[in-house]
Amino acid sequence: MDDWKPSSLIKPFGARKKRSWYLTWKYKLTNQRALRRFCQTGAVLFLLVTVIVNIKLILDTRRAISEANGDAEPEQDYDEALGRLEPSRRRGSGPRRVLDVEVYSSRSKVYVAVDGTTVLEDEAREQGRGIHVIVLNQATGHVMAKRVFDTYSPHEDEAMVLFLNMVAPGRVLICTVKDEGSFHLKDTAKALLRSLGSQAGPALGWRDTWAFVGRKGGPVLGEKHSKSPALSSWGDPVLLKTDVPLSSAEEAECHWADTELNRRRRRFCSKVEGYGSVCSCKDPTPIEFSPDPLPDNKVLNVPVAVIAGNRPNYLYRMLRSLLSAQGVSPQMITVFIDGYYEEPMDVVALFGLRGIQHTPISIKNARVSQHYKASLTATFNLFPEAKFAVVLEEDLDIAVDFFSFLSQSIHLLEEDDSLYCISAWNDQGYEHTAEDPALLYRVETMPGLGWVLRKSLYKEELEPKWPTPEKLWDWDMWMRMPEQRRGRECIIPDVSRSYHFGIVGLNMNGYFHEAYFKKHKFNTVPGVQLRNVDSLKKEAYEVEIHRLLSEAEVLDHSKNPCEDSFLPDTEGHTYVAFIRMEKDDDFTTWTQLAKCLHIWDLDVRGNHRGLWRLFRKKNHFLVVGVPASPYSVKKPPSITPIFLEPPPKEEGAPGAAEQT
């Protein structure tokens, strides 16, 4: 076609024109070779154009499709590996409307299987004694609660009654006994079991085995029982197999108004049980509190990190009190859950808060410590603007004026480099030793239990050298070490703004809690105006202490400091006592004094340069360690400091102190 030259006459334009050309051509069939070739070329060109348009169309369609596919960049994709696992929930509307439940009770093992899936299995030695209770959702068959009540021990039956009463009517209840469950199963509990329709439950005897499946407020679906033949032996293992008919989802749910809050409530209540009136159909407990805002709130934009484990009922109680505190800003709260536990996450979602789960990487104390580190780092990452963070734990009640307390004192952390933290907890603030909610102290120990951490302290000092997992250290003990604290002090209130209610914890047991935490004073007065906050700064505080010591009346040192009569029956006076303290780390006498005053004596807390401040009988009571304390100069020469000898090795009775 290279040799072809278009004639000036021939200009193909459109189909019509072409058509006329064709006709012309048809009639002039003669030797118009050039013309024929031209037509051929035209046709070929035309075909070519068609092909091009076709290709373009195909390309375009493909591009449109790929664009609709979200045009993911390959190198950006590496973090998407965590595929989105759509929850494959069993639908209640499926064909299977019956659950097949197996319950086993014996001396050393209990298990419960629902549709072949084991939902409870306990064959550990020396553990899990008592009545195991499982609550299933009657529409879905999901496990909503799992508890064990050691009704061999006292008071556990009361807890069981409380729990069973909270369970919504219609739920499926499963009970099974491991080892022994009758010794402290009192009449109230037995009556409740009878009201559930159980025959054997109310008659449960020493070392009997018992398995029960029933609907709350409805029919019993199965029960098996085996009596113990003799005091020294157990009943035969029983295995109960029964079918549980499922009801419809509508039946299982309450008819709350369709609001955002109730949607959260519904989601929560269909998954878990045992949270009391929050799930009751009539008049449920609110889950939004809208406490009064604080005027001039200085901590409105301070993030709050709640450190939690798998104690969802504690977390529930804690978050309720936190969200009821004046000046709280819920969007600043993050709950850090140590482990992939669902129920704490459900509690967090109920209150519409942010929850973050943490994969366990270490054991026991070190695990807690690593959890703290991850939580604190995450808090400052999530709130890069924050200069401080409030650190709370799941087993604390938060005082109504918690944020007001912080708002009034937080500027101290900014202005005074000699401060380590502000804490809401006074280790020595018991019912009988704390009095004045407006009073603040400076102490050399770090109490924790609701405190404020400065970002610069964390980022520059603590985070880089935080104990590694293999160290197995308690984070709080580590923070109290002189290498970390470096002589800095914490601000605490006289009357604590947090209350430690946890009794099941890593370092906790019932006795310990009773002895050291239960009688702690907790402020319930809203809007307390703190007194003289600026006098808590380093220099000003010394002036304040000297003033106090100057006006304090020296107590009669010949009396026994453990006796109530050591302090006169006055009110509003300031008294001082001097105890022996040879060196900065000599706390012999103080520890004995703390013991007999029934305050914290496991280690030294609440001291400031050899001075302790507390209240007794509504009088301010100062204790100065002589001669280690710089305040020893205030001791009148005639006074001999009190010396209390530690008891010999075996535990001496508290108060059995000797006087010099």
């Binding site: 035309f46 973050i356 995450a378 890069p384 520059e460």
Partner: protein, 461 residues
């Protein structure tokens, strides 16, 4: 006869072909208009005024956000540009005097707003109200990248984008999250399996193709076309940031794997070095930013970021790269003013320039200047003793933002190519002895400086 037949066949072929072509053209046109949304071709003809669907959608959206206290500001590049052109006039014409809809009525598929997430208090109720107002909304969520750097945390997902459609106009709400390093970050708009791919023409979105990072803008409220909106106080700066806002996350997962294989050095010396190097880097970044000089992490510092998301404790210095066209003569004096004296200067602006500054505690700040050729980039090296020149070749690269030691900072987007050029395929293995003249695979001898020039091109202090 055979010839005629051939011609007839050809003619017939042409006819069918043209018919086919016509059909295709028709189909193609139909397809195009379907893709762009049925309404767009319609609004073409309609009067551009206050009754335009764009304006109405924006108005409704602004009503919604102000009543629900959703902290949004306008970032739509198209409208910001228009506003910027007319900025003085807009400031002068006070409220109410809106004779003509000039900005929000301009034809477009989207109006883009940004949401300042950390100021947002009522996240839950908003969506529902938007839907009640007639918006059809799509929410794109993802995991929080701010938790990526920390071992084993997994949180609730955070919203990254909202796209709300009203009639044939869509509002794209880009969620800006605060990040450490005083900047705002937005995520990648990635559609998940169940989402409607035809919801809006996603391709035309101006944000979300990549994650992005922006300086936190100061805002101002202005009245545009009778609507009160917040816009960045410095729209020019914001507009300039948009094309270069692409952000890449550090590869935390790989970094953790690295530290599992080669334990992290947590000795006192290593921690002290990291702290000092971080401070030096922050100081250098601040100084260069003030001068308006673009720079990026180079050599060992870049490797540290890419491989372990941290400063390599035995690297002894901090390395930065600067394009030679960004060179400013007052760099040296600016560094001196902040307490970083010049340690040596090799080469000259035309060739192989390299500056070294002395930080505290014996840490050096090396700045390499990069020269661009048609198919590669290079920077130079000079051996002080011999006057030998070296050339380090890199494939061409562009700059992306990342976060490093609490800073928003540039790195080459094509990081892996950059690092492999510099350290070879074995960059994953830590090497403590490194000879800058021999070890890099991309080094080339580049002759020798003429002795007459030594005074200029080899300056040691």
């Amino acid at each position: 006869m055979s010839r005629i037949n051939k011609n007839v066949i050809l003619a017939l072929l042409t006819l069918t072909s043209s018919a086919f072509l016509l059909f295709q053209l028709y189909y193609y046109k139909h397809y195009l208009s379907a893709k762009n949304g049925a309404g767009l071709s319609k609004s073409k003809g309609s009067r551009i005024g206050f009754d335009s669907t764009q304006w109405r959608a924006v108005k409704k959206f602004i009503m919604l956000t102000s009543s629900q206290n959703v902290p949004v500001f306008l970032i739509d590049p198209l409208i910001l540009e228009l506003i910027n052109k007319d900025f003085e006039q807009l400031k002068n014409t006070s409220l109410g005097s809106t004779s003509e809809c000039k900005f929000f009525c301009v034809r477009r598929d989207f109006t883009t707003f940004a949401l300042r997430y950390h100021l947002w208090k009522n996240e839950e109720g908003w969506f529902r109200i938007a839907e009640n107002m007639g918006f059809q909304c799509l929410k794109i969520e993802s995991k929080d990248p701010r938790l990526d750097g920390i071992d084993s945390l997994s949180g609730t997902e955070i919203p990254l984008h909202y796209i709300c459609r009203l009639a044939n106009h869509a509002i794209h709400l880009v969620v800006f999250h605060e990040r450490s390093g005083n900047y705002l970050w937005h995520g990648h708009l990635r559609l998940k399996g169940h989402m409607d791919r035809k919801f809006v023409p996603f391709r035309k979105l101006r944000f979300g193709r990549y994650p992005g990072a922006f300086d936190r803008p100061e805002l101002q409220q202005i009245t545009v076309d009778g609507l009160e909106v917040f816009i960045p106080k410095d729209p020019v700066h914001f507009l300039e940031e948009i094309p270069h806002s692409r952000f890449i996350e550090c590869r935390y997962k790989e970094a953790r794997a690295f530290f599992q294989q080669y334990l992290d050095d947590n000795t006192v010396e290593a921690m002290a070095f990291r702290k000092n190097a971080k401070e030096l880097l922050q100081l250098a970044a601040k100084t260069l930013k003030k001068l308006g000089v673009r720079f990026w992490l180079s050599s060992g510092t870049c490797l540290g970021w890419y491989r372990q998301c941290n400063i390599i404790p035995y690297s002894k210095d901090v390395d930065l790269g600067i394009f030679i066209q960004d060179y400013k003569s007052d760099i040296i004096s600016a560094f001196q003013d902040v307490g970083l004296p010049l340690k040596h200067k090799f080469g000259k602006v035309e060739d192989s320039l390299e500056l070294s500054f002395q930080g505290k505690d014996d840490i050096k700040l090396d700045i390499f200047f990069f020269y661009e050729e048609t198919d590669h980039m290079w920077n130079g090296g000079t051996q002080a003793k011999t006057g030998k020149k070296f050339k380090y070749l890199f494939p061409k690269f562009t700059l992306c933002w990342t976060e490093f030691v609490d800073m928003k900072i540039h790195v080459p987007c094509e990081t892996i190519e950059y690092i492999e050029a510099n350290y070879g395929k074995t960059w994953k293995i830590p090497v403590k002895t490194w000879d800058w003249k021999r070890s890099p695979p991309n080094v080339q001898p580049n002759g020798i400086w003429p002795i007459s020039e030594w005074d200029e091109v080899i300056q040691l202090y």
